[in-house]
Every structure is written in C-alpha cells, then in structure tokens.
C-alpha cells in the first residue's frame, strides 16, 4: 500500500509539473523534502535521548510494568498478541496519555520505545509490521487530544471571541475517527490474516 501511495504522489507530481511547464520545481522540491527529513531526525535526537534515559529509569524502577498491569482490562482487548504485563504496554499507555494531554515532545519518544518493545515480539521477518504495531499506530494517529493548544493559540492571535469553543467539536470528531480506526484495524487484521499477508 505504501508503495502505491509513494509512487502515485511522485508520478502525479512530476506529470503535473511537466504539464504546466514547471519541471524545474521537481528537483528543488525533492531536495527540500530530503532536507526536511534529515533535519526532523536531527531535531529528534535531543528529545529521544532525554526520554529514553527517563524511560530506562521508569523501567528499572518497575513503573512501566506497574502501569501495564493497571490498564490490563483495556489493553487485553486491543492487543491480544502482547503478553499482559509486557513493558510494551506501559510504553503504549504513556504514549497515548502524552498524546491525550497534547505533549507531542514526550509522546514521540515514548511511541518509539513502544515500537522497539513491539518489535521484540514481532515474529515475522522484522521488516513487516505486526498486528500489535498496526493497532498501536491506528490508535496513535487517531488519538484524542483533549486540548488542541496550537490551534487555540492561533485563534487567540487572530482575535477570536471564544478561542476554546472548538474543544467540544474537536473531541467529538476525534472520538468518531478513533472508533473507526479501532474498527478498521480489527476488520483489516482479520482480512489480512485470512489471506496470509
């Protein structure tokens, strides 16, 4: 799937640029994209290093496992393939809580730790996503943010009478998206398993 999306964006982009006589933008855009990719990764070094240190402490102190045990009832339903008090569960819960609170800087490193833990449980060739990884990312990308701070800030700057009046509508929309994410994940997992993919 990612192959098709990637190829489609590339081909459509080049064809449109050629058709409109702006073929030179392609080279520039490609290099800019590469630049953004590298600088994003570089920016991540600091926060990932910092949070990996904290998470190691939390793990050694038994806090990650403790958290995993606390949320067993929900995670058991969502992640049947992950052992009940595996550290992956603790990291997943911390990532989703950070997302919920809109703490993007903390959410990303915790999510990456969760992925590393899930990769240890991945019995495939290690290049193919496991069921649990797909479920985790479905939850992560559709996760509710209780307070969308960035957009509230922008509304405030442009003189909104009530910058936070979109909080309710945002929660409603995310809740719908998240339900579908969980449902689609379940459905697709069954279909893919049946086809042996």
């Amino acid at each position: 799937m990612v192959n098709y999306v990637w190829l489609a964006m590339m081909i459509c982009g080049i064809l449109v640029a050629a058709g409109t006589g702006h073929i030179e933008v392609v080279t520039k855009a490609a290099l800019e994209g590469a630049q953004t990719g590298v600088s994003t990764a570089i920016d991540l070094i600091a926060i990932i290093t910092f949070w990996l240190g904290i998470m190691k402490l939390a793990e050694k102190a038994g806090l990650v496992r403790g958290l995993a045990i606390m949320v067993r009832p929900i995670t058991g339903f969502l992640f049947p393939s992950v052992p009940k008090d595996h550290p992956a569960m603790g990291a997943i819960v911390m990532n989703l809580s950070a997302n919920l609170l809109g703490l993007g800087n903390a959410a990303t490193p915790m999510g990456l730790i969760a992925m590393q833990e899930l990769q240890k449980l991945n019995w495939s060739d290690k290049k193919t996503a496991s069921d649990a990884m797909c479920t985790f990312l479905a939850l992560n990308t559709s996760c509710i943010t209780l307070i969308p701070t960035t957009i509230i800030g922008i509304r405030l700057i442009y003189g909104s009478q009530d910058p936070t009046q979109i909080v309710g509508t945002t929660i409603f929309a995310t809740a719908c998206g998240m339900s579908i994410a969980i449902f689609a994940d379940r459905l697709l997992r069954t279909i893919y398993r049946r086809q042996g993919r």
Binding site: V2, A41, K127, A173, C176
Partner: protein, 177 residues
C-alpha cells in the same frame, strides 16, 4: 474542566521527572548510571529514521510543490460544494495526513482570512485539532525499528482521517452552522 485539563498538561512532565527518578532511587536503582545507559540508544534511534523520513518527505514535497494538489482540489471542489462543504477547507483536508507544517499553514491562513469565529474558521480549527499527520507518524514509527512493509496501517489510518473529516463537517454544521 477546561482549566483542570490544561493544568494537568502543564504539570504532567515535571511530575514524571520528579516521581520516576525518586521511585527508582528508593528501589535501589543507580539513577545517573541507568539514565545514561538508556539515553545511549537515543542517537541511533533518531538517526535510523533518516532514510524513511527522507523517502516519504521527498515524495510529499514533489506532490505539493508541483501543483498536483491544486489539481486535486479543483477536481473535488464542485462535488464538495454540493454537500455543503466550503471548498476552501479542501487543501487542508488533503494536506493534513501528509504534512503537519503545511496543514497548520493552511488553517492559519483561513483563520486569518475569514476570522476565527466564522464558519470556515471554526470548521478548519476543528479539523486541525482533531486529526494528525498520519503519514509522518507511520514513517517515523515504523522507520525507527526498520519496518518497510506497513501492511494495512495506511488504510486504517486514512479511514480514520476521512471519518474525522466527515465528523468535523457534521458537528461544525450542527454547532456553528
């Protein structure tokens, strides 16, 4: 309720930074050494994502800069107008899963042009707040552990994004319409 949540957001990280090292220390963990041991993997983890991020962002960047997105918008806007969706928000809907920065740019621009409390302003705010940069997250998370076959992740991610979009439009009509 609102101030409670925003206080929680402000306090969450300092509390984690207080509780985690303290509990670790009380349980006999050598805190400094353990922190460094964990942090050691940070550089490698971040660097490992570079090829994946570059691959994805090159393709997105070409798609965006070439004007292919505008073609898509022009194609869809007559249909959207029929069902009561202002065509102005379409670029945002298309960009949102691909590029967080670009989507934020579009929503800021719409809020500036139409006013934050207009229907378009409220709608695009809801859309911005309720969705995430799906492609970036998938690329980053899978990339960090060297996974290149995403299986059905993109389909479920986009199904959720589409639902969020439809739900945003519905609720904006109900509340702000």
């Amino acid at each position: 309720m609102f101030s409670l949540i925003s206080d929680l957001s402000r306090w969450a990280i300092p509390i984690v930074l207080l509780v985690v090292p303290l509990v670790a220390h009380l349980r006999g963990v050598n805190v400094f050494e353990t922190f460094v041991e964990g942090a050691e993997a940070g550089f490698g983890t971040a660097i490992k994502t570079i090829p994946y991020l570059v691959a994805m962002l090159v393709s997105i960047s070409v798609f965006r800069a070439s004007g292919a997105m505008d073609v898509l918008v022009n194609l869809f806007s007559p249909v959207l107008n029929l069902v009561g969706v202002p065509a102005e928000v379409l670029p945002h809907a298309i960009m949102r899963p691909l590029s967080g920065g670009a989507a934020l740019g579009i929503s800021t621009d719409l809020i500036k042009t139409y006013g934050p409390d207009s229907f378009i302003g409220n709608l695009v705010s809801t859309m911005q707040g309720s969705s995430d940069t799906t492609f970036y997250i998938l690329t980053l998370y899978f990339g960090s552990v060297g996974i290149s076959r995403y299986r059905y992740s993109i389909i479920s991610g986009l199904a959720a994004d589409f639902t969020t979009l439809v739900a945003s439009i519905y609720i904006a009509h109900k509340v702000f319409g």
